[in-house]
Amino acid sequence: MTEPVHPSLEELAELHEGVLDAGRQLEVSAHLASCDECASATAALSEVGTVLTAAGSVPMPIPAERAASLQDALRRVSAERAAGVPSLDEQRDRPQRRRTAAARVRVPRWVSAAGAAAAVVLACYGGISLLHRGGPDQSSSAESSASGGRVAAARGDSSGAAPSPSPRSLASATPGKSAGELQTVTAKTLAAYAAELGSHPASGAAPPSCGPAAADLPHRSRAATIRWKGSPALVVVDLTRHRATVYSCSSAARLFSTGY
């Protein structure tokens, strides 16, 4: 048999896209130039493109009921955000959420009823009440406080732990700092403040008391509560991008952002 071996459809398609390797490209183009069979195959490949493009050009609107359920879901997350529920990424946050849920059990009902209180704040009260109570869950409370301590500097960097600002041990590391003594930071001083917070995590900064709603905390970050234009605000310092962002503690809106 002297009949030439035809290139595969795949090779013809790759030749057409210009991604066939150089040596083979010459052989296949030479073959194609004199082979009707492969010319038909190439035409069929173009036809596939045409059929796909034609199918793609027919509008495929989202069915009304699916659009409605999508908008419902977005309304829900928007309401959560407005209520100040921190939007820490739920996928990555699972271990932390479990701890938070465990802590919440021990929080008096009225605290939960406050609803708008950020989960991190609940975790904080929960952690303290765990320590005070001890009792049958001693081991789990120890684990809980240990994990709390590990992330206390609000670094979101390792071990899959959520970058959750956990104020408790930061607070104990900086006795005497209460919410009434928040450091006032302005647009002019933010960069310097961020640089300071970035290099000395527990240097007298007030613990973060609310979560950002519009953005996840970056992976390597530190957070603290400051006074911004007279109101409490959360500053998140992204150690990787050298960027500081200020969020309102009341509305969770992003107020200001700067490099440092």
């Binding site: 013809l12 195959a41 796909l52 495929m60 955000r81 992003r254």
Partner: protein, 223 residues
């Protein structure tokens, strides 16, 4: 900054959302949901999966909006999140492997339902065929073809959405198209003899009676 009378740009809406506007993100989604839906259906090959992936993706986009850096189009960013959610869903399903893709016939009606009134039945049927054919591809080839051939993205834009090199997009498109030739065109390659690895079983062989008592499982030999 746009004046109140103007239609805000996508980027403006996204910024308003980041700044706390409770409705801006919904408005942004309403603008693009048809196209994102089409991409999701074509990428997953299944309206239920598409719906779940779209919702998951857009909630994630809602929350991650603050990390949008403005170095891409908002629509490209949204497409990237949606396509990735679709691919994740397909891979998770594959990993489980206990949950087969739903049967074609279940969804043909829904996929064909939304054709415009003047669209001939034949065209919507063909569209369902296209989706069924796309499902025969692996998800990477399918996503590349959906973006480039169906959605009209350039290779570079598709590469940005898929997070891979333009050459990779071209390869995936080429291989995908090659696989679709027998499914979407009347062209049939003359099979070289060496390709006939598994010739169809001759009818006469199938008619050979199985051993008694196992007639419902032809070919199974008793052990």
């Amino acid at each position: 900054m746009t004046t109140p009378g103007d239609d805000p740009t996508d980027a403006t809406l996204l910024q308003r959302h980041v700044d706390g506007d409770p409705d801006a993100f919904s408005e942004l989604v309403a603008r693009h949901q048809d196209r994102l839906w089409a991409v999701a259906v074509r990428t997953t090959g299944d309206p239920e999966d598409a719906s779940d992936a779209l919702q998951e993706a857009l909630i994630s986009a809602f929350r991650r909006a603050g990390s949008f850096r403005g170095d891409a189009q908002v629509t490209t960013w949204l497409h990237r999140i949606v396509v990735n959610a679709c691919l994740d869903r397909i891979r998770r399903r594959k990993a489980k492997a206990t949950e087969p893709l739903p049967d074609d016939e279940d969804h043909r009606t829904e996929l064909a339902d939304h054709a415009p009134a003047d669209d001939p039945a034949e065209a919507s049927e063909r569209r369902a065929d296209v989706i069924a054919a796309l499902r025969q591809l692996n998800e990477d080839q399918r996503a590349a073809l959906v973006l480039v051939d169906m959605e009209g993205y350039s290779v570079d834009e598709a590469a940005e959405v898929l997070g891979c090199a333009p050459g990779t997009v071209k390869s995936r498109c080429a291989r995908g198209r090659a696989r679709l030739v027998p499914l979407l065109t009347s062209y049939r390659r003359n099979q070289p003899p060496s390709d006939d690895v598994e010739p169809p079983m001759p009818a006469v062989a199938r008619r050979v009676a199985p051993s008694p008592g196992t007639s419902s499982q032809p070919g199974r030999s008793p052990t």
